[in-house]
Amino acid sequence: MDTAFTLNEGVEEGLKKILSSLLEKGKIQAAMVLDHTEGGGAAYSLITDPQMMAQTRPLLPLMPANAALALSRLTLKEPLSGPVAAVVRPCELRAFVELVKRGQGSLDHFIFISPVCGGVYPLQETLVKGGIEKKLPEYREAMRQGEIAVDIREACRTCEHFVPTGADMIVAAMGQDDPETHGTVFMQTDRAAELIQDLGEVMIAEKQTEGPLETDLIRKHQGLRRDQKKKLAQEMQLDQSGLDGLIEIFGRCIGCHGCRAVCPICYCELCVFESRDFEPKPVDFERDLSRKGRLRVPPDTLLYHLGRLNHMALSCVGCGSCTDVCPVDIPVSSIFIQVGESLQELFDYLPGRDPEEEVPFTKYETEEFAEFED
């Protein structure tokens, strides 16, 4: 049985009070949560003042940037010296674990709080009048029913990993009764249970619920997401697309490399495709011109995408940020997620599932893929 506490409030309000109280009592140094910005959107913020928790939006269904980027920035130089709570979505947490495996951050002293995730809206939705707030009633209703909210991103609609792995606390934003009035928080680790021990009177109802976290509603939702994923794969028919199909899809790429910049896995400070090695010299142009008579300038548009895919697909958590950022609406994540998952399956690897699990290419097996060998 899972240990859980019922809140006197809805999930988001309750969470804010927990964090505010932890800050107040000095049990955490800071909380990293989504906060409103002056422009009507949201951004991750490192909050130290308990009073400021009230204005934050830890569960706003929006991913202005994958939180793993912020967590990595925070702990790239050295680990935290004291406890910091971070409210992040399941794919953000998994991305951070992948980064930690690559020496780009440290998990030490983080207390991860993650919701059962109903997905997020496209970033551009914040620019529409009324923004995300207007969508919230509809979103919450979908969560109550275990349905997929209308208009959430495709990456979210087709994501099967919406129940967090590796979190210290899981906020049951779906699958339990009354998430909007009496939310439930599941304790996944001892340090989480310990942390909220003396908060009982403030915001947690006397009642201690006994799981399970994965209810029928969640299993139903799982099925819906799986169906969506299958449907997308059938529509895209990526395995039939071939080189010409890929050229059709990526032909309008303007080379901004925003997909790389926002990808939590693409951590290289200087991408090889932006390095001197990939800057053609006059002799390269002349050679290619002689061979083909014509050449796109700058060259290597598709090579960049396939190269990036090749570099990061094993760790792709399917967060969808690449599609969100693309100014010319290339369905980057639809392709990367499909390729990533089929590759991950080969190695029985789920990125970010377990910090101890090695990234497949750092592991040497004497016998591997004999079936592909000549």
């Binding site: 140094q29 002056e38 909050i47 006059p282």
Partner: protein, 376 residues
């Protein structure tokens, strides 16, 4: 000044392409760099070509600017000129960016024929992509009537309408029906005309009149738009608000033709701090946005490149959050360039203000050292 005339009976694009084709066939150019429709038909990319077989798919004046021509030219010539003589027809802001990049040693013009084109402006990239066919039709009309419906903001206020830095300018405005002007600006351009047996004997009076008219209209637009914008963005709070939606993707920096640094300072190790540093900064205000320094990046980039900003609008086209980047940069760039009597990309001979040393300069904004550091 006078110009030559070339025939364009089947329209502007065809006239320009026929001229380029002739240059290629007569061996004056070895290759052309031209925008060509991508296979899916939903955008354009620059293609370097030696043969004429792809030219029927080329658009010397496409409805959008998916890649800044100067950026493509820099990619092609950054490591020096090859043996090929390349003709590069570009829009005025692309020519001007190429001039700036030449000064910054990121473009080598030795074997390049810069060919300027009159430009009615382009459509916002995102708008175009919603319905490329509609955009193409809109633009065909614009090329005929020389007025574009809903162009990008920067295009509407672009008043250096006919820059003279190109070796040769292809004049569309004011040309007699079914003709185009060829206006040589440099010895290279004059030689080119001579080799093609063309004589610059036609009067450009009708063209000057039309250019003046367009420039006046655009200048008026500009003054009005900048006046309104200046009110809108005044003060740090307003700037914070405008850039608040920035997600730090730095697309603006990577598509900017002038931002040529391989590694931007703002993406470098220099800005990565220890956790205690971030916590301390958070404690000072109760909270710290992560990533930090969003506005610092914008202002930093602005101070690094605005003297060379040609207001091409690429930054805004590439912004996934629709932040009016190019408007704010245009406003600041114009003011900064006026201070130095400089116009980015106007002339290859005009040195960058940062490289000129004057003993006496900008005294009116100076605070004497003694005044700043006088012991109190």
């Amino acid at each position: 000044m006078k110009g030559a005339q070339i025939p364009a009976p089947k329209g502007i694009a065809d006239g320009i392409l026929s001229f380029l084709k002739k240059g290629l066939q007569e061996g004056i150019f070895d290759a052309l760099l031209l925008p060509v429709k991508v296979p899916a038909g939903d955008s354009f990319s620059y293609v370097l070509m030696r043969e004429t077989d792809l030219m029927d798919q080329a658009s010397p004046l496409p409805p959008v600017m998916p890649v800044q021509g100067a950026k493509a030219l820099s990619n092609l010539t950054r490591y020096g000129n090859g043996a090929e003589k390349i003709a590069v027809p570009m829009r005025p802001c692309e020519i001007r960016a190429a001039v700036e990049l030449h000064k910054l040693e990121q473009v080598n013009l030795e074997n390049v024929f810069l060919i300027g084109l009159d430009c009615p402006g382009v459509l916002p990239l995102k708008e175009y992509l919603k319905n490329p066919k509609k955009g193409d039709a809109l633009y065909r009309k614009a090329l005929q009537e020389w007025a574009l419906e809903s162009p990008r903001w920067v295009c509407e206020i672009c008043d250096p309408v006919s820059p003279e830095a190109a070796d040769l300018h292809i004049g569309i405005m004011g040309a007699p029906r079914g003709k185009l002007f060829l206006i040589p600006n440099t010895p290279k351009g004059k030689k080119l005309l001579k080799r093609l047996d063309l004589k610059a004997e036609s009067s450009l009076a009708s063209r000057q009149t039309e250019i003046k008219k367009l420039a006046q209209k655009r200048t008026k637009n500009k003054e009005r738009a900048l006046r309104a914008l200046r009110q809108e963005v005044r003060g740090p709070e307003r700037l914070l608000e405008i850039f608040a939606n920035c997600i730090n993707c730095h697309n603006c920096m990577r598509v900017c033709p002038v931002c040529y640094c391989r590694q931007c300072y703002f993406d470098s190790e220099a800005l990565k701090m220890t956790p205690d540093n971030y916590l301390m900064r958070a404690q000072r205000k109760g909270g710290l946005r992560l990533m930090p320094d969003t506005l610092l990046f914008q202002l930093g980039r602005m101070s690094h490149m605005s003297l060379s900003c040609v207001s091409c609008g690429m930054c805004e086209d590439a912004c996934p959050m629709d932040i009016p980047v190019s408007r704010i940069f245009t406003l600041v760039a114009r003011d900064a360039q006026i201070v130095f009597g400089y116009l980015a990309g106007r002339s290859l001979q005009e040195p960058l203000p940062q490289v000129i040393y004057r003993e006496e300069e900008l005294k009116e904004v100076e605070t004497p050292y003694q005044e700043t550091y006088r012991p109190s």
